[in-house]
Symmetry: D3
Subunit: 251 residues, 6 copies
């Protein structure tokens, strides 16, 4: 029995609150149960040096954890003077995942920066961040379309992510912190709306997993991601005051 | 006329949302109009090295700005590898202001860390942070009292803060960003419930102010702080599920 | 056709040179074709603070690239003042993978530090590093057994790793740099001697992969890892002057 | 009774030694009793990036403490790898204060950098630094006028600063270290030659102060600053070999 | 008697392995007994900012120690976040020494970066590095000549280095670690093929040396350097596949 | 002809001002012509970790340059976030040189920290710093003797330093900046009162020097150091108010 009483294949309650803050081109508070991540998408009219003059855009991500998002206070990385290995690993994952959603030449010489800041952590912050960041990216692009800066949307895929793992010998979907802390193995899966994989990261610290377990975990993840994709589309169906335009990712 | 149509002596709408996040001993979202700061108070059972064995507690503060809290994206300090001068200046101010609220020996050998993270900025983030941090400190101490860790509250003063300044030649209370960016001079005032000053920081970059203007600004600030103190007390009057105890700062 | 003329399921020539340097308890130069990584295992009689007094050991890894291991000179991380995200990601992966080989309580309060320094890079440095680091770990433990510091070997699993990917539409094993730079997708797989997975990290930057492709890639990886495990065992069969003891990982 | 036997409204002996070092455009050793600060003003023919092409100048300040300026050795900030919060706070204050003395467009696209390095500390280093930096700024501008680089002086105000505080219940002027270390409250005041305020920074760590005390402290500060302004003018009355030009701030 | 049984004026066995790695324009593994340093020379078609537009080239050096090159593991400088004083001192010495070999205007607007990474340390790493770096520099320039990028070689001097010192009261050549750790004094000498000095660095920590001892040490060094210069020339006599050109430093 | 009209073997005017600042146990302003360095010696009752419990003392040095000690402003190292290679090289040299003056076991478990801060630079700052630091060390030890903390002086040698070089083909003593900037070669020599060498650092960037030139330079240095040693002794002959004790280094 899972600590949260959920069925093995049951997601936590999902919520996407768009326009959670007012300054960013896209701003989404994503909640997977008690995990709450603020995802903002900022558009800048320039690209990093390695892309200058190539006629294409870029997307990058940064991840942070408010110090008391966790049950014990986590020291602030700005105070420690550097981002830790876990942070860098997560923000690189978010960036790669969301770049898979975009036609970068279609974005023009612009950079979208996704800031994913965890207000409250209860397991699965990186997959929640990816799922929320996709909605924020959608809204940032809608802003560009609305202003006429772009004529066609470069958002060519819908992207969502979830974690799966083996908890007390049983494969489960969308681990919360109580499960994650004692899980035998843990896998983060990122997929698009066609069912193809963007990232698969399976770790079995303190344990290992067989090919059969692996297959079951991928099935669980694929079903969970289907539900998250549907929830993203539902959130986009709501009209945003002066911003939302078209359901370019609905098809 | 102020851009927000407020009277010169009018505060923005205030809101204190307690228990905004679940892990911290005190967690308050404070809103001064569109300025929104998450203030968490964390209690640790140890003190910094310079206080070891002195039988007293400590309180310290850290301040951060989410990258897209501002209208232009502000680079993340964790990425830049250090906190800037403005951040250090603000968090030192918050720490000094809240230590004035506490009887540090009465806290025992504990440290309260206040994390003030700006989710959305529209001017006056440091004074909003101080006003919210006081409520978070109150709730953290209520937790210690409820658990029996402390028998008597060391919270001996109520503390609030506001900014005042001269905008287009007229002294005004609680400047928002539109006013702050063009103000002739700017002053942050921190006071306690008895009307005594804890900090006064007046800056007149690009201008100067006379003794007469100074006196008018202090009067405006004192009246504004009275209203903020009342709003803090009103927020504490609401019962928090399993936490709130007594109005020890009301007397 | 692969640039190296290899068959899709063909590894590059493998070589493990033990005792490549003289000071470390284990020192192995591993070569996967032109990729050459020096893996040293150092034993220290202490554990990190978070494990003090728990009666168990620890294993950690660090990764580096000599500046001219690459075809363009890579700036030295010591000069830049920090390790990059890629480095941190790789050394975390190596550490997790090798910890899966050890019974940490059986190691006692000791830390094994694996330093994996790339002398020459031609793709697949992280998987070569894991495969070589296992041999270095073996030799470091043999040193502890030979000196009587340990009575029983805590090396409970054999560990090896390889990369697989889709190159010009075809799944291939053990990508070299020419393939890696243009691969559609890339996966690093770490397994033990029983065929169970320790880590699976699949990335499809600029592309995605289907479940069917995923399955083929895992099959390729499993076969490649079998060959690497055999090469590790063959390398251990050679007697090292005054060090090698027993084939405790052969069973 | 003050430890130094001074009357409550009595400054320490002041001395401004111009041309203390030979390379800087302005170089002043300022002494407030045993507090000795070397203030140099350096002129560069460029402005920071945020001001490029705006046709105006800039002034910035840096502050340092020689390690043994203090009674206990203070670790060197260059060795610790960063400037502390106190240093940043002070140098920001010096910069704002001196910018108030200048007509920045009149300076042209030049930057004046003030380096204020404390050779010996006995309280009040930041206010001594501001008072000395004004003389150094004057001399740097005199150099520009003498060379013909500027036709008119952009030095439109005279600036001086002093600290005041409540020591053993009594308001006193210009606290030395023995007073500062035990003061109930402390205020730094920066004013110009017309009696207008540039900065007021009052702190009451461990105490608070009433409006009445505040008013008395401001009066003390205003009188002390009058004396410092006179001492600055007296120092400028001495002819400097090949440099001093005109008393443009005397009027 | 020296621990290695060598005569006082006897070098350790020398070996220069050219083309040790494949990517660098020059790549030499130099061995002085058990001291092994990988020296690579990288050519870039640009110069540092301070030389832009001056029509001359530059040469710079970086030095590193693999963590387990030493008998106790040395913490990795990339992890500690900065290069230590010893590292900076050594790489500045290598850079100055090798710039003395070059006619910098004849190099054109190019920078040669020498990376000297110690794989195994047994005393004298900096002098081995200089001696090996000269061969790597030679090969990098041969590459430029072969490609036609340069018509004439700017390598105008041959450079080698050795350490000498007083061990148990007797002057000895080419100290190994066992000698170095207990030497009374230590001197590093860098000379060219004409017998002129490029650098002399004598240190007598824990001791001092007389003018007479100094003269004997310089004689020892001069003879040792003659042998090293001969070994460098012998190494260059071997043809390198597709690279080596001419013995421009042999005359 | 030297720019300063000095004879080739002529030092600049020397001055040692003791008790230049009041807090340090030893505080000396040393002047070699226009080069002015403040040398303070601070005593702490502890040793670095690597010496704990060994019953001996330690001496270490730090070096800094005030930003406008130089004719162009040098960026502050505290602002840049690290000490440069030149600074580290110099402070290591000062530390080694002064440790040669002390019987470290005789100092007991204490550390003397020498801070050498250049107020004005005109060539030869490192050798001036060593010469001044010796006087500061003397005075710090006199303080320990006067207080009874030490019964016998551990200052067993007198130490001084000077630079020599070849300027326009002629060997000269004590180079000033005008000479140093264009010198063919440069050597720093540190000696004790018996004429033995502590350090010799000869550099010939852009040139080389013969054995014959080397010998002439050492002769020049030895004579110059004799004069500096005499000037140090003369400075110590003056009684310091409540501090100076005995000429323990004169014998």
């Amino acid at each position: 029995m899972r600590p949260s009483q959920r069925r093995p294949d049951q997601l936590r309650p999902l919520r996407f609150t768009r326009s959670f803050t007012q300054h960013a081109e896209g701003s989404v508070l994503v909640e997977f149960g008690a995990t709450r991540v603020l995802c903002t998408a900022s558009v800048a009219a320039q690209v990093p040096p390695f892309l200058k003059g190539r006629g294409q855009g870029w997307l990058t991500a940064e991840y942070g954890l408010l110090p008391r998002a966790t049950s014990e206070r986590t020291p602030r990385e700005a105070t420690r003077g550097k981002q830790g290995g876990r942070t860098l690993e997560i923000q690189r994952l978010i960036g790669r995942s969301l770049r898979a959603a975009l036609d970068l030449p279609g974005l023009g010489e612009r950079t979208i920066t996704l800031d994913c800041d965890v207000l409250q952590a209860d397991g699965g912050t990186r997959t929640a961040a990816i799922s929320g960041a996709w909605v924020a990216t959608h809204d940032a692009i809608a802003t560009l379309l609305a202003s006429g800066a772009l004529a066609t949307s470069p958002l060519v895929h819908q992207v969502a992510a979830v974690s799966v793992g083996v908890y007390r010998g049983e494969p489960v979907l969308d681990l919360d912190y109580a499960e994650d802390a004692t899980a035998d193995s843990d896998m983060n899966v990122v997929m698009d709306e066609t069912g193809r994989f963007i990232e698969v990261q399976g770790t079995a610290e303190g344990c290992t997993f067989s090919r059969a377990e692996f297959d079951i975990l991928l099935d669980l993840a694929a079903n969970g991601i289907d539900e998250i994709l549907a929830a993203q589309r539902a959130a986009l169906a709501d009209t945003l005051p002066d911003r939302d335009l078209a359901g370019e990712a609905n098809g």
